[in-house]
Each structure stands twice: as structure tokens, then as C-alpha cells.
Assembly symmetry: C2
Homo-oligomer: 478 residues x 2
């Protein structure tokens, strides 16, 4: 699609925002030219990445969840039942008011999230202890009338790829374990995207509307801001009381069930491409790359045997389950390198007459840029093992980059200074007033209390100066 | 979920409408109790079937199409551009008029179909001959404000599983070939669901709003009505003119492109379960059955070795890629048979102490009800081959049932009589007036001209009596 426009370099990644926008177009992830603010179009290449990413989350969830699908449209009366929940969403909800040319009797909300669509059905489905735990999920489009600046994959009016799980449990403790399990599952999911995430318990004033508490996972973006890329909410029995979800306990009494919900979205893809990409374009972890290996035949003089050798190589790699593309188009080699580097293909193999004579190929790694000659003997095994190595390399590099950008800080001035680069880790007395004052003084939010908090450490709250044994992350956020 | 309610028999299939509704609940396909008319909830089991069905269509399309995703919301000005198209849909469109508590500047339509969402982008993407053919598809939710009687999977206000493809071609002829190709692809798809379909060219007054012509595939339902389960539209350059989709031809002139679109929906699942199901519940083609084999250990006296042998059998079948469930629950065997028959599991294996001694199992086929003892030697190969046989059996039976219910008719009275049982095949002079008169006299619609029309046959138009060499299908339709 309009190749000629695109062979220009990206802006340097230091200019993160420009780089990101240009990468989405040139890497063929999203087209931002759809004529409604905050709505974007997935290019087929981007959608292919999306498929691979969502296959991973499906595989992880399918072990003990079931996939389902609930309606998009929620009647106003159901939507308005849970008071805290409405407060959290009322300014963001799109309303359908007309069907054809007639006004509807009951207004319909486009789900901003599906608690109020799902829980009236859970009321019907949960009867006894034997119906729990119930663990369902769906992957759906959801809608938020965002008034803030919108940004593809990050802040959307149509979240096209919201994976939301909703579970029901007999006890508060079981639900709490499920929240922990969800965070482990998301951490594992992000590990498979080579994205390190930080899990923390959100401060009470930043939890999900209607929840007892929220634990979230955040990715640290190249510009030092954090992106919330997963949340898990303990809903207590708050929604169960609103939607009358009860079961008969051992004594024959009807008691309320406990619930959790947890979600991720295409922000997973935003974090992955932002963290790994470079000035030449996408750098995709092999697990999700639509093309894992591109083969470039060097054939400017149409030498015999090269194309056939490339076809054989392709077939051999494909037989091992590797996603391979052979680019035998008429473009110049340089244009081909540009194109497949932009699209983040982890491994490039070039094969010309001289290589063929040596029973070898030239291999270029997208992540490090290294080139080396490799033998065609055992090339399948070598490429498979290299793909694994590339994945680990991406993860380790990203992890080191996060570690380098978490700063233990003791006073407001240092916090402010370090926030330009990354995350401040600060002691906090736990008092809400101090927390809010801290946020105000710094001009950034408390992300939350790390779930892997070190036991027994202590310091001083930078606001009130009292002793504190709790640390919090503070960050500029998307 | 509320097992106790469900061990009652279905109404007989002769009472198709009641049978269908009850099957959806007891077979755990859809829950119809969602509190908005025309919107339904997929049970996890039903959604599992949906996954398998849509994996098939994806595999077929992925050979030369690419999957993508466009926004749900279409701004009023784009939606209103194509006059015929609007006329076809204006009474059926849901409108979003408010974001939060504020009215929107531009009303947004929930897509009833995506031409007007996609084609403004195609204008940007199509520049030259080299950009064509462009063949994209998406699987999305679409919305129709249906005023007719709604019915799960068949007539919905939220079509949850609309697969729509949109292609662009350089010539009218290329687009026509693509329409034919789409019909072949759909026929193949339905073949994999063991559903025979009839393809016919819709009369001009029943084509897609804005198309040059429409070819559709219909399934013949148990009650003798036809269900339209796939459509392919030749859009000519009608939409290209509206949305300014042009390319530079060999002479350097900007000319309009030609387009097609084609779609299927969850009606594919409706037809499949309706055609194959029986008084005991679902009968699922093995390719889409979430459970292909259920193993029932006969263990009422806890005999040694039976459970282990069942586990071994399960592992052996799974290793061959078969989806197996072992039901070692405490329920009575009768309750287990009821449950798994209702869910359409193609093969049941019962294994008790006596079987074990004989190195055998009792095998029951869901489609024919036949039971026979089978040796545990080679059981994997035998089951695999039986699954294939079951699929063919379902298809052949369904095909014979369609053939028996197509009646060649010469006069209005016979047509009317035969329509109670199935489809009338009738000569038609091709005159629109006669066609409309025919529909009026009969009280049923002309489905279309069969695409496999026999060459050279001839008869008389039952309305005007003139010679005719075109036959049409007439049917009562959903």
C-alpha cells in the first residue's frame, strides 16, 4: 500500500511520541486516518501480530477458564445499578438512543467494561457451591468516550481487543487468590512478549470503581512514563449484592458470592512494540512475529539454483513450524532490508551464488544487527535455537532497562528529578492525606505498592516525616 | 449450571421452533435471558463450537485473504454517502448520539455492515494496479434494529459473528470471478459443517442495496423454510464512485476500481445444529465438536484398573489430536449419556471391568445410535476413521433430505402445496412483473436462479404462460 511514501527513515526513538506514530504507519500496525477521533484501523500486518498475541493469552487462560461472549449493549437500568461503578464511568459512556428513525424506550450503553452485562446472567447461573469457581473470559470491543488526548493502541475510544475475565468464588479469600493468580498469569503473558512488568497494588483512591482493591501491572515505556497494561480487581461481594448473585451454603442459607475481574487490551501490543522497537522500525519477539524469518535470494544476474535453494530452505524451515517469507520481488536488496527490518522480522537469511557454493547463507539478526555466515547443514535447528535466544535477549535487555530506571528516593526534589527518567520508589506512611499531598507536590501519581515489597525495610515518609515500612512506586503515567 | 432443570427431554424435532429454542438452552449454545430483545449470551460450550467453526472459515480465507479490523462506529456523513445503501439500511441502524452526558457533534452509526467504514480507507490504500486484487476480511459484531420477530443465531439485533470480506479489483470481470470464488469457498466451508447449501442468484429486487447483483447460499431447514447463510455481492464500481476509489491504469488515467463483498454469520451454526440435531439434542459434525469422544468409565463397584485404562485410552486418543473428555463424575451412567448426547458428542466409549478383561470398549455413535464392541487394539485409528465416516454420513443424509424436498412445479397450486414441505423449482420468463406477481400469488419469495442451472431445459412461465428457459427456486424463508 503506497510503498513509495514509506522508504523514509523513522524519527529517532528519543523523540518517542513522533517515533511511535510514524512506526504505527510504516510498520503497518494501525492506520490513524479513520474519520473519527480515537478510532483506528488495524492494518493486516498489525492484525496478524494481534492474532499471535491473543493466541498466547487464550492458551494461558484456556487452562482453567472458558471463553464466552456477552452483548455489547447494556440497558440503562442495569448499567445504573451499581452506584460507585456509574460514578467511575458515567462521563465516558456512549449511549445508543435511536433504532432506525425511532427513539428507543430504554437507552443502551456501549459497554465500557462488562460487569453490568455479565452479572445479571451470573445471578441466573450461580445456584450452589458446585457452580464455583466460575471463570469466564471474553475478548471484545469496548468503548470509552475519552476526552483526553487519544493515541492509537493506548488511549482509544474503541478498545478493539479488550480481554476481560470475570470470576465468581465462594469466599473472599478464594477471590483474593484469584487476583494473585491473574497477576501471575499476566506476568507470564508479558514474559512471552518479552515485556517485563511491575505489579503493584493501586492506592485506594485509584482502584476500580466498585472494587475492594486493584492490583495492576505496568510497563515502563521508553520515555520514562508507565503504561498500565493489566489490572485485576477484587470486587468483594459489592456487585453480588447489587446483582443478587447468591448461592446456598452448607447450612442451607443463601449467601452472597465473591467476585473478581481482570483485563488486558491492545496496550499489550503498544508496550511490546515501544519497548523493543528501534530507529529502523519494529523489533518483534519471535513468538508473535507474523514473519519469523525472511529469505532474500541474491539473484541480480539470475544465477541458476539460487531460487531453488531458497525454496528448499523455506520448505525446511516451515516444516519445523517457523513462519517464513521469501522475498523474490524485483525490489533492490536495500529496499527489501528496509522493508523487513521495519516490520521487525527477527532473522534475515540472504542466499546468493557464492553462499550456495559454500553451502551457507548470510544471517542477519534484527535485534542486534549482527551478521554472520551460517552453514546450511542444521540450519533449521540453528534458527530455532536463535529465535529462542533472541527472545531471551530482548527480555533481558528490557528488564535491565527497567531496573536502571527505578530510583530509590527520599525527598521531593529527588523524586521530581528522577521522574524525568523513570520510576521513583519512595517510602510512604500509608496515610491517604500524605499520599494525596505527595501526588500534588510532585505532579505525578502514586502507581501503587509493589507486590514484591521487601520485608523489614523501613524509611521516612517524605511528606510527614514519620516512620514508614511501605514503599510505593511513583511515576508519570499514560 | 443448574443441571437439575435440564434432564428433561426436548420437544420432538417436528415442532421445530420449540425444539430449536429448547436445544439452544439444553445444548448450552445460547442463553436467551439477556434483558434486551434480540441480544443473547453465548454459553462457553456454544462459544467453543463457534471457535471451531470460525477456525474453519479463517483457514479457508487465509489462503489468499488477510484479516483486519475496522471500527464499529461510522460517522453519519460517511454512512449517508451511498444513496441505495442508505435506503436499504436506514430503518435498521442504531445511532449513538451521546458521549457521556454530552450530545455528539456527529451522530455515529453502529455498523450494520462495513462498506461505509472500510471504503474511505480503501480510497487511501488503492493507488495502482499493483495494489489489487486487495482481499481483506474481518470477523466482527454488527447491529440491526430488527423490528421482525428475533430469534437466536438467526435474526439478531447484535450479530456477534459477522465475517465480512471486501475485495477490490481492476476490472468488472475480475470482481465477477471473485464472487464465484466466494460462493465456492462458502460451499466448501458448509461442506466442512456437513451442511449442503443451494447457491442462487437473487432476483434484482432482492439484491444487496448498492450492488450490481447478489449470489447467495441457502440451507434448507427442517421445517421446509430456507435460511440464507451466505451472500456474495458484485458491487460494480458503484461504491468506488461514491468513495472515490481509483487507480492509475496503463494509460496513466485515474479509473474506478471494482469491488465485491461477501459475508456469513452465526447463521452457519444455526443451520448446522438445526439440520443435524435430533430429539436427543445436538448432533455435531466431528470437525467442530468441542468434545469428539467422551469416555465413560463403568465403575459403580470401584473395580481396579478401569479408571487407569480410561486414562490411558484418553491419552492415546489425545495424542492423535482427538478432543476427548472423560466423565468420571458421580452422576448415574444414564445421566451422563443424556448429558453428552444433548451436547452432540459424536462418539461415546464405555469401559467397564468386563470390557477391560476382553481388551475392548463399548462404542456408541451419536449420529445413528448404533452400539458395538470394539477392540482396544488400533482404537485410535478406528476412532479417527469413524469420525470421518460420521462426517460423511451426516452430509449425505442432509444432502438426500434436501434433494427430496426440491419439487419441480408447473402451476401455482402445486407450488403452494409443495412449499409446505420445501423448495419449488419453477420456470420463469425472467420478467420482473411476472416475478413479483408470482411472489404475490404464492405468498412466498423467489429465492433466485440456481447457479448450477441445467443448460437447454425449457418450460412455461406459470404467470404469463410464455416459454422460459430459466428456472428459479421459490421458498418460504427465514
Amino acid at each position: 500500500m503506497a510503498e513509495q511514501e514509506k522508504e523514509a527513515a523513522l524519527p529517532p526513538k528519543e523523540n518517542f511520541s513522533e517515533w511511535y506514530n510514524d512506526l504505527l504507519l510504516k510498520g503497518e500496525i494501525m492506520d490513524v486516518r479513520y474519520p473519527v477521533k480515537g478510532l483506528y484501523v488495524w492494518f493486516p500486518f498489525g492484525f496478524n501480530i494481534r492474532r499471535n498475541v491473543y493466541d498466547i493469552i487464550r492458551r494461558l487462560l484456556d487452562k482453567d477458564h472458558q471463553e464466552t461472549l456477552f452483548p455489547l449493549l447494556i440497558p440503562e437500568n442495569e448499567f445504573m445499578k451499581e452506584a460507585e461503578h456509574i460514578k467511575g464511568f458515567e462521563e465516558e459512556v456512549y449511549w445508543v438512543t435511536h433504532g432506525g428513525t425511532s427513539p428507543l424506550d430504554v437507552k443502551l450503553a456501549l459497554r465500557p467494561t462488562s460487569e453490568t452485562a455479565i452479572y445479571p446472567m451470573y445471578k441466573l447461573w450461580i445456584r450452589s457451591h458446585a457452580d464455583m469457581p466460575l471463570k469466564l473470559y471474553q475478548i471484545v470491543n469496548t468503548f470509552r468516550y475519552e476526552t483526553k488526548h487519544t493515541r492509537p493502541l493506548i488511549r482509544l475510544r474503541e478498545i478493539t481487543s479488550f480481554k476481560e475475565a470475570h470470576t465468581v468464588h465462594a469466599t473472599w479469600e478464594d477471590a483474593a487468590s484469584q487476583v494473585d493468580e491473574a497477576i501471575r498469569l499476566y506476568t507470564d503473558f508479558y514474559r512471552q512478549l518479552a515485556v517485563p512488568v511491575l505489579a503493584s497494588k493501586r492506592p485506594d483512591w485509584d482502584k476500580f470503581p466498585g472494587a475492594d482493591y486493584t492490583i495492576a501491572t505496568d510497563a515502563l515505556m521508553p520515555d520514562g512514563k508507565t503504561l498500565q497494561v493489566g489490572t485485576a480487581h477484587h470486587l468483594g461481594d459489592n456487585f453480588a449484592k447489587t446483582f443478587d448473585i447468591t448461592y446456598e451454603d452448607a447450612e442451607g442459607e443463601q449467601v452472597y458470592a465473591y467476585q473478581t475481574c481482570y483485563g488486558i487490551s491492545e496496550r499489550s501490543i503498544a508496550s511490546m512494540i515501544s519497548i523493543h522497537g528501534d530507529d529502523k522500525g519494529l523489533v518483534l519477539p519471535p513468538a508473535v512475529a507474523p514473519v519469523q524469518v525472511v529469505i532474500i535470494p541474491i539473484i541480480f544476474k539470475k544465477p541458476e539454483g539460487v531460487l531453488e535453494a531458497c525454496e528448499d530452505l523455506k520448505a525446511a524451515l516451515e516444516a519445523a513450524g517457523i513462519r517464513v517469507k521469501m522475498d523474490a520481488s524485483d525490489s533492490r536488496p536495500g529496499a527489501k532490508y528496509y522493508k523487513w527490518e521495519m516490520r521487525g522480522v527477527p532473522v534475515r537469511l540472504e542466499l546468493g551464488p557464492r553462499d550456495l557454493k559454500n553451502n551457507a547463507a548470510m544471517l542477519a539478526r534484527r535485534d542486534t544487527g549482527e551478521k554472520q555466515q551460517v552453514s546450511l547443514d542444521n540450519i533449521t535447528e540453528d534458527v530455532l535455537s536463535l529465535l529462542g535466544e533472541i527472545h531471551e535477549g530482548l527480555y533481558e535487555k528490557a528488564k535491565a532497562s527497567v531496573q536502571e530506571r527505578i530510583f530509590e528516593c527520599e525527598d521531593i526534589a529527588t523524586i521530581k528529578e528522577k521522574l524525568a527518567e523513570g520510576i521513583a520508589k519512595v517510602f510512604w506512611c500509608g496515610n491517604k492525606e500524605c499520599g494525596l499531598k505527595l501526588e500534588e507536590d510532585i505532579g505525578a501519581g502514586i502507581l501503587g505498592i509493589p507486590i514484591d515489597q521487601t520485608e523489614g525495610c523501613s524509611g521516612k515518609c517524605p511528606v510527614c516525616g514519620s516512620d514508614a515500612d511501605t514503599q510505593v512506586y511513583i511515576a508519570r503515567t499514560y
